[in-house]
């Protein structure tokens, strides 16, 4: 209960906070080529997505694989160029930044990868992994770099620090590897952290530890946080708002307490119904799962992209017209014709 209350108070206060990252009508499409020339079509990975992220705010993007959440994240990181729309960070459009601007931008944004073992170079020890971003960042003074590395490793609770510095990734446990990845993301003192399923590869007992560590860092440094996940049960310990993504679109946006109590979009409903809590009664019933699979992003269905799987479809409307964003509750938006005012 305390959790939801704190969340709500931060939400009413959020208008006063500065917008750090603003995503405006973002489209990220990938070309499909036919025999090397000619464009056969586009994979519409992100299609008309907009949201604002405030300083010190944690949001979660929830969706299944292939819904475009990784493309969205990589565009925010500046790795993909948007086809349309803008990513504005602290007043600057990142797709218009030059080399210098991007270097600055990358010091402002930290990235936590999904698979810690894959994300750490196997031939570098912890010291070099953490030293390199500082060297690239232009910190010439070795003592200053070492001080920074010690501080960050202490923050991610890898102590005694001296024991860990010479270790290579294969000598660390999964949890320690993920801590190293977090330390690397934090090393240049960023304002925004993007975490792509940071705990999905870890064991259940370590998972909570890492989530609490991230939450602690987010609060002490007043970081903005984008948490990308498919696991609804972890988001409420972590973020203030949830964006539910389906087939390249954010179909529902809202404060966490409201969405979990009162999900509006049929897809959010289905995701929640499919999430299990440990309970022996689960074995007695079947789960309600929408039929079919997520649509192709090359030729998404006309109208609402969820309509072929939706049990509450309005014939003649949902399969023809794309739903605009409705706001049935304050701060809670949904792209679904059921909520037409």
């Amino acid at each position: 209960m305390a959790q939801t209350q704190t969340v709500q108070t931060t939400n009413t206060a959020q208008d006063t906070r500065k917008v750090l990252l603003s995503i405006q009508n973002l489209r990220v499409w990938f070309e499909l080529r036919r025999f090397g020339f000619g464009i056969a079509g586009y994979v519409r990975a992100v299609d008309d997505v907009s949201f604002d992220l405030h300083t010190g705010e944690a949001i979660a993007v929830v969706g299944e694989s292939g819904c475009g959440k990784s493309s969205l994240m990589k565009t925010v990181l500046g790795l993909y160029r948007p086809r349309e729309g803008k990513v504005v960070f602290d007043g600057q459009v990142i797709s218009e930044m030059g080399r210098k601007g991007l270097n600055w931008y990358r010091s402002q944004v930290g990235y936590i990868q999904q698979d810690p073992y894959g994300a750490l170079p196997p031939f570098m020890n912890v010291l070099r992994i953490l030293d390199e971003p500082l060297v690239i960042g232009g910190i010439r003074n070795k003592e200053e770099r070492m001080a920074r590395i010690h501080k960050v490793l202490n923050e991610v609770k890898m102590y005694p620090v001296e024991d860990f510095l010479p270790k290579f990734p294969h000598m660390l446990s999964g949890g320690q590897q993920q801590r190293t990845v977090i330390a690397r993301a934090m090393i240049r003192d960023p304002k925004l952290i993007v975490a792509d399923e940071p705990v999905s590869m870890l064991d259940a007992s370590v998972r909570v530890e890492i989530l609490k560590l991230l939450r602690g860092l987010q609060e002490t440094h007043n970081l903005s946080f984008i948490y990308i996940t498919h696991d609804l049960s972890t988001v409420k310990y972590f973020s203030e708002r949830i964006f539910v993504m389906y087939a390249g679109k954010l179909v529902e946006k809202g404060p966490i307490g409201q969405i979990l109590k009162n999900p509006l979009h049929p897809y959010t409903f289905a995701l929640m119904a499919a999430t299990s809590d440990p309970d022996a009664r689960n074995a007695e019933t079947y789960k309600e799962v929408p039929p079919g699979e997520p649509p192709s992003l090359v030729k998404p269905p006309a109208g609402c992209r969820f309509h072929p799987r939706c049990s509450r479809i309005i014939k003649g409307l949902c399969d023809q017209q794309e739903p605009p964003e409705f706001e049935p509750e304050p701060n809670h938006q949904v792209q679904c014709w059921l909520y037409k005012q």
Partner: protein, 320 residues
């Protein structure tokens, strides 16, 4: 022997140790459990606790570096450990029990049509002709919810969830009484995961198959579990009926494991377990969980006995 015949599977003091360059890994170290027919047992534990090795020990799918392999496995009252490898292959594997290995969806042969792959075990183990085997495969596809025309497709033409269903169909085609599932949904999406569990529940109900489900995911394991066995450092520390276990686990490790599960429908802050599981090479002679246990007391420096309490078994001094 008479006491064994009423159980579908009975495992007694099963041991599987591996030889490595750094020492002997005691992956499975004296496991006892039993399973009635048409029931499902979940083996829960963190990674590296020996869950997968237990599956391999039961099915005798052993690598070359085995240091010790002993104990008894009774399937329908027959001691299958007494069989030699060829007898085991002919009489136990596939026909008695089959395995859906970890990441089974990636284990399909990419250049053979999935229908032929599913039919193959039926041709080899049931000795049926190809047409009949394909018919069986078609029936199994219906059970797992794969459209019939997928028989002629190749694995790359199927989504991850569909491939996982095909792998389950393959394990089913010889109609074994027991299927061992090793992390069947760990690489799948939420909705696909829910779908696969629906399929497994339906198979259990319609075909009366029993399951051993090996997983680290406590929340989804409750979707199938009749019995729960908690594994820690090569041993089972608690076994109980699911309806007793989930509301109130007994072993301190099981309690902490349950407390670490984030819940969607309850406002309970998850807690994590400090420390790390012991290395399976240098195992302590005392209780293996004692170094991480908050309820540790004087007796814990000795190996705890297995205590029976209200039809549950727990290996802990607290209940002795």
């Amino acid at each position: 022997m008479a006491t064994n015949s009423d159980k579908l599977l009975r495992v007694e003091n099963l041991v599987l140790h591996f030889r490595t360059t750094v020492g002997v890994v005691q992956a499975v170290d004296g496991i006892d459990f039993s399973l009635d027919s048409n029931r499902a047992v979940v083996i829960l534990g963190e990674s590296g606790c020996g869950k997968t090795s237990l599956a391999k020990a039961i099915l005798r799918l052993l690598p070359r570096n085995v240091a010790k392999y002993s104990g008894k496995v009774y399937l329908n009252g027959t001691d299958v450990m007494a069989f030699n490898d060829e007898e085991f292959r002919q009489n136990v594997r596939w026909v008695g029990m089959s395995l859906v290995p970890q990441a089974a969806m990636n284990a399909l042969n990419p250049v053979i049509r999935v229908g032929d792959q599913v039919a193959e075990p039926a041709m080899i183990h049931l000795g049926v002709k190809k047409e009949e085997a394909l018919n069986l495969a078609r029936q199994m596809f219906q059970h797992v919810g794969v459209p019939e025309d997928f028989l002629a497709r190749y694995p790359f033409e199927l989504s991850g969830g569909m491939r996982q269903r095909v792998a389950i169909a393959m394990a089913l085609v010889t109609s074994p009484s027991l299927i061992v599932l090793d992390e069947p949904t760990s690489a799948l999406d939420l909705l696909t995961q829910a779908n696969i569990f629906n399929v497994l529940k339906r198979i259990k109900k319609e075909l009366g198959t029993s399951f051993i489900l090996i997983t680290h995911d406590i929340a989804t394991s409750s979707e199938l579990a009749d019995e729960v066995a908690i594994m820690y450092a090569g041993q089972i520390v608690e076994t109980a009926h699911a309806k007793d276990f989930f509301p109130a686990p007994l072993h301190p490790y099981a309690q902490m494991l349950m407390a670490s599960v984030p819940r969607l429908r309850a406002d309970q802050d998850p807690e994590f377990i400090t420390g790390q599981p012991p290395s399976l090479i240098n195992l302590p002679t005392f209780c293996r969980f004692a170094p991480r246990c908050p309820k540790r007391f004087g007796k814990c420096d000795q190996d705890p006995p297995v205590v029976e309490k209200d039809g549950r078994k727990v290996k802990c001094w607290l209940y002795a």
